[in-house]
Symmetry: C2
Subunit: 336 residues, 2 copies
């Protein structure tokens, strides 16, 4: 059990003071070339690696940015990948904790991150009150993704859910669909509510009236999409298109349609929202709205770095893009 090498060991071995070693490590001041060479040699020989905890304690910064995520769905997986990429090259590293869409657990996660003295925070969604986020934002730079935190709007990376849903509805009505069913997300979440409202509004814009019987609640999971689609198909209300509030539910719905022998898109057109990586590999490939999730994560990370550097970064507004694939087609004559 080789005892850990410390900066002091290096100093002694190199015949210099600890401060000198520290200076070389951080480039804090000039050091004679030969001394520097000597120290660097010792560092390599002893395989010295500075204790980050000690550095953090002494310098007052931990070089870690806390990330409050929610679950392990592909959605957050892709966002985290973006964050990792955004932090790459910087001395900062992400410390990820899940809140599981429960205010209490989100608060615990935030507490944990604060106790670990993260230098900054990235918040992905969540249902915790804005006040709690404002509180932590008062202590460290904070950027939120997919959620508009009151009082911190200029620190939020958002997509325009309204516009995205409208693109889908337009696309479907252009194809001749008039009876469009809808599976929504958990409305405790901002975006889920926005998408449902946007769906109803877009329908009206197209001269159609939302029908309660064609709208089912889901919770953004595949299983809920599967179930909701079942209910919709069992009811006798006819529809030729099924718009799901996110891709995962569309995947679930796809399974139900497959089981019932309903063809996509010949019998029913199917759409999602998010453009998860998997959407392209669905059968048939899923028509959806691109959120560029990974990019959102990366942008958030970069914004955090700027904040940490004392900047006041301008967060870009993201406009969703319609991605037409094979899961949508002309409306059939209503028959099933």
């Amino acid at each position: 059990m080789s005892a850990t090498v410390t900066l002091a060991h290096v100093a002694r071995e190199a015949g210099v003071s600890p401060s000198t070693v520290s200076r070389i490590l951080n480039g804090t001041a000039n050091v004679t070339p030969d001394k520097r060479a000597r120290v660097e040699a010792v560092i390599r020989r002893l395989n010295f690696a500075p204790n980050v905890q000690a550095q953090a304690l002494a310098a007052g910064r931990s070089f870690s940015v806390g990330v409050l995520t929610q679950d392990t769905s592909p959605y957050y997986g892709e966002t985290l990948a973006g964050i990792e990429r955004g932090l790459e090259g910087s001395p900062y590293h992400p410390l990820v904790v899940s809140g599981h869409w429960e205010a209490a657990r989100e608060q615990e996660a935030l507490d944990l991150l604060m106790r670990r003295r993260v230098d900054a925070l990235i918040v992905l969604g969540g249902v915790i009150e804005d006040a709690a986020l404002q509180a932590v934002a008062a202590r460290v730079p904070l950027v939120a993704v997919g959620r508009d935190v009151s009082g911190l709007s200029e620190r939020c990376v958002l997509v325009d859910n309204r516009a995205g849903i409208r693109l889908l509805v337009r696309h479907l009505t252009d194809l001749g669909h008039r009876e469009i069913a809808f599976i929504g997300g958990p409305e405790v979440q901002q975006d889920a509510l926005e998408r449902r409202l946007a769906f109803e509004a877009a329908l009206r814009e197209c001269g159609l009236e939302p029908q309660a019987g064609l709208m089912r609640p889901g919770d953004y999971t595949e299983a809920s999409g599967e179930r909701a689609a079942e209910e919709l198909c069992r009811s006798d209300l006819p529809f030729t298109a099924l718009l799901c509030a996110n891709d995962q539910m569309a995947f679930g719905a796809r399974l139900t349609l497959y089981r019932l022998g309903i063809r996509v898109p010949q019998d029913i057109s199917l759409t999602g929202f998010d453009d998860l990586f998997a959407a392209r590999y669905a059968t048939p490939p899923l028509t959806t709205v691109r959120q560029a999730i990974a990019e959102l994560g990366q942008v958030a990370a970069e914004a955090v770095l700027r904040l940490l550097a004392g900047d006041h970064p301008q967060l870009p507004r993201y406009v969703p893009e319609l991605i037409v694939r094979d899961s949508t087609g002309p409306a059939p004559l209503l028959s099933h």
Copy 2:
């Protein structure tokens, strides 16, 4: 900018010594009820949260376990979810870093984790030399998943790739398939090599001879499966089943088959390996081998906790299970 509250503040405010506060925090020793009550009140009032860095430095343990993962594929996503679950309830938290399947970056990741003084390590796959892992294993408890590290075999959570592949091949031959194509993984990875060898062996067991023309290399990504399937279909060698070394490549291959108008399973039977969450939602649902990935992660995490507690946990051996879904069916008369 409310200055951070320290243990010393609490002590002063409560009229006790810092040690007493520390004792109450850690339950290190008995304290008079009234003193304890007084201190706890102050803690709540001041909203005191101990600095984990300082605790780590003083106590010599950081309460974090490092996780070396590789990429952000669903495979690792599910494993990480399992690890998180396994650590839940314990005072330990995961610190995740990606190695991107490059020895150099994996080494960097390990260095980073050691500098952060993680108390233990969980290694997911990777291509770094065993020696490097043995080196870190000498400093902290280490558990590896999906990789057999020489000298640390009793610390490795493994699945029997041979057995899994054999289940698939048997399943296919039982269905009458004789011409089975194969898309393999990157053979720098242990499991990919094992699976390819197992495929050839299983074929022979069934009295069939592996045909080089029906075997294509992939890299475990959807895109590589897509491409490899294209090549296979363009070649004039007939086959009635396509066995992919993992689910993701099967998803990619599925897209190619869809594009070419080849029906699954009527024209070609398709199989994967891993049983990712998404396998059940493929169209048609994918026949595959269950690895219980999330469980593997959880088991690894629990093993690490036991090691940290001084135990010598016995890691269970995982036997893969064949999951028959709709992507496989009787072999058609060769025609396409």
